[in-house]
Amino acid sequence: MEGMYAFCVGLLTACGVFLTLRGRSFSVVVGLTLLSYAVNLFLFASGRLKLDAAAVLGQSKSIGDPLPQALVLTAIVIGFAMTAFAVILAMRARADLGNDHVDGQIPQPRHGINQKTGGAK
């Protein structure tokens, strides 16, 4: 089970990173959301996976590690705030700049060729 779990975390991270590297703001927001799933799962896993071990006293025989859970709980809520801020910022940028590229302007084709030298002449 741990192997599968770790695979999922890795896959979500990879998907998140790939989308974060895209050039349009909405893809970046989706990528960030995927990344925060991965991060939350990862943090949660640092308390190890346990079955039937809710961190509630008197409910089950063993008790899972409550600390990562508490951290992840607030992380989920803050993650929502971050996603919201990012997406509204993207909307605002689109409204003010007329496009939804992360750099605020759509790169010219020539710029694309020059990517290798970083736009330096």
Binding site: M1, E2, G3, M4, Y5, A6, G10, L11, L12, T13, A14, C15, F18, L21, R22, G23, R24, S25, F26, S27, V29, V30, L34, A38, F44, A45, S46, R48, K50, L51, A55, V56, L57, D65, P66, L67, Q69, A70, L73, T74, I76, V77, I78, F80, A81, T83, A84, V87, I88, L89, A90, M91, R94, A95, V102, Q115, T117, G118, G119, A120
Partner: protein, 932 residues
Amino acid sequence: MNSLLWLPFLPLLGTFVPLLTARYSRTACAFMTAVLPAVTLFLILSHASDIFSGKHFFASVPWVPAIGLELAFRLDGLSLLFSILILGIGLLVILYARYYLSAQDSMGKFYAYLILFMFAMLGVVLSDNLIQLWFFWELTSISSFLLISFWGHKSEARKGARMALTVTGAGGLALLAGLLLLGHTVGSYSLQTVLDSGDLIKASASYPIITVLILLGAFTKSAQFPFHFWLPNAMAAPTPVSAYLHSATMVKAGIFLMARFYPSLAGTDLWFLLVSLTGLATFLTGAYVALFQHDLKGLLANSTISHLGLITLLLGMGTDLAAVAAIFHVINHAIFKASLFMAAGIIDHESGSRDMRQLNGLWKYMPYTATLAMVAASSMAGVPLLNGFLSKEMFFTETLHQASLGSLSWMIPVLATLGGVFSVAYSMRFIHDVFFNGEPINLPKTPHEPPRYMRVPVEILVALCLMVGIFPTMIVGNLLYSAASAVLNGDVPHYSLAIWHGFTYPLLMSFIAMTGGLIIYTNRQHFFKFHAQFPTSDSKLVFERVMQTLASKAHKFISFTENGSLQRYIFFTLLLAIVMTTVPLLQLNTTAGQRPEIPVDALSITCVVLLCVAGVATVIWHRRRLIALLTLSVVGLIVSLAFAKFSAPDLALTQLSVEVVTVILLILALFFLPQKTPKESSPRRVVRDLGLAAFVGGTVGTICYALMTRPLDTISTFFTENSKTGGGGTNIVNVILVDFRGFDTLGEITVLGIAALGIYKLIARMRLFMPSSDDKGRPWSEDKYPLLLAVISQSLLPLALLVSAYIFLRGHNMPGGGFIAGLITSVAIIQQYIAHGVDWIKQRLKLDYQIMIGSGIGIATLSGLGSWLFSRPFLTSWFDYFYLPVIGKFELASAMMFDLGVFLTVVGATMLILANLGQLTTSERATQKEHE
């Protein structure tokens, strides 16, 4: 002695005096400016007799003792000598500048800079802490920059100032590195400790690096070859500045530094080679170049370089007597060079030119000044009965005793004599060319004697030249002895300051220098012709070119790393992060640990497959945004299932409700954004990003797996044990949130509130792109609010709120709590918005979400402050059990108040975001009044 603590700051206070008094007459301003330095000088001199009898004074105030930071001053022989030079010559320069500056120059500004420099210089020589010394060292660089660029309208002044700052500033950085390393080696930044640990330093492995770095600082400051080029260019400064900075103080700071660290660093072969050879090279080049200058100040500047080289050479020789000679020459050079600069300033001021090809025969016009200048110049040449002669004799004596170059040691006295020859030659030129040698040529003004008091500083200095030259022991004997004792950190060898030592080799060398100098000067035409054959190189141009090349290289580098592309930044950041993470992973032998794994079941496999498919589908269809959102929400759902499966019911509930809110938010936002992403990444870019993504994902997955399969050593035992007894709740996660780590949560909801307000602000003034149809060109549906949805959601509302209240109340003991209840409430309200529209809600639900956020954070804070009433720390919780007839036993805890605050903030923040986004297209949209 406490006065040492505030004494160095008197001049700093004095910086403001000229600025305040500049509105009064020039004389008043100069007089007022001089008061504080004069008081400082007086106070320092009052300690002189104690210091002469061998006492040292220390004063310090600790600042950050753990890292060796303190305010520490010391007053010993060396500090005393330099303080007298700084303050004494400083006072003379103040008097001189009163007459030198013209009416157009801002006198207040000039004096302010000058006194600031005086303060910095005084700080350098009085510091007893390495870091503090460096601080003042850099302050001298900055204040000298201000002084050199005082006539900022002149291009050469700006360029000269920049060059001086660049060279000395770069040296200052090297010095900082050297001092830090030195302090680290010794284990203390206290100067006294460093001076007492000479053997330890010399034995340490970092000694060569320390020495080279500190010497770099000293050489750049004291204009040693090959860093000497900034000094002639700094001559663009007003002459009082040159007389002060470039003869007696600033350029002597490097010499001071070498003398200060003499006990710690000197005496090794490395020191000898670096210091004495640099000094020798500087001595010779300076003397040679000085002869060919046509600018009066250029000649003096190069002669200064040469004399600084001489002092450096003496310090490098490593013998005790050489160190004494070095200190003696510091005094003598300061006296005659300051007076020469002042004389040059007078000539410039009263004749309008500094060019020696125009200045001739001034003897007739200003005989008095000429006499003074001639005495000073003779001292520079080393004529007997003047102070320059004495130290030069000592210098020649020491070169004769030098044996460090083995069988080549004879070269040092020979080269020293050669330098002496040129010194005599350029001094001759200064005297003969300017005051005799025919008639002036095309001078802008008819030269005349300067105002009476402008001559006074020169007179005082020239009188000192003579007095020291004739009665050396009486005038400077004590000062020299105590300074030398400070440099040598102990015993001073026997030396004699007599004028006449009999017919000795040094006397012969002086004689050769005199005769040789006369011969060279009389045959100077040939030398000038010879010198003219060399291509002239302007150090300003070379420097400028180097600087521009550096700047353009730096610019290229920056435009490569910072080209404004967010994608590039993220790529580099992730790349760096992954490199840093991979290195420790390479040292991990096995991925899997010892902990037994949970067996796999069919349901889990199904979920994993779904998650993987949804995740990959999100990436594949990310350009069709609505579909990507749908697959994204599948991922979110499975994540919440995973939390539920692995015993985290709180997380599952939170994730589920956040998921709902997030997807609604993203769909709303998508309405205002393009529905599709154009295809614009090049194949190479896609491959590159895929590669990085796979690598990052693989690494994170590996760490996750390695982590999970290793036994857990948790710190949570404390929380588990104290949750019920200390926090009064059985749901440990909730108790951690509202009690143990309540302060964290308070911070967290504050952040949530701020984010929501930020979003509100962003929305408030947004111009809208309102698509009139969907991406396929179909118009929006007329049918606004589906009746079925309206009816169902309306009847669901009480139920949802009831569930929310239940979740909230049981949160302390069972899965639930303020966060989750808040999210559920938000979802319930949002559903009403979706089903009925903004107008309908507005009429029925009068909630101000901003007030809700504020009151939420307020309640949470107050519940924390409440514990102060019982003299407990912030956020200490209280709980007890009560009994009511119908309900039975129940618990009340102050943590519930805190959780209520969390609840309100979450509802307020979520609703502020969603409701405002949702009503953007309606008449209810948030607007902002224009302030202007």
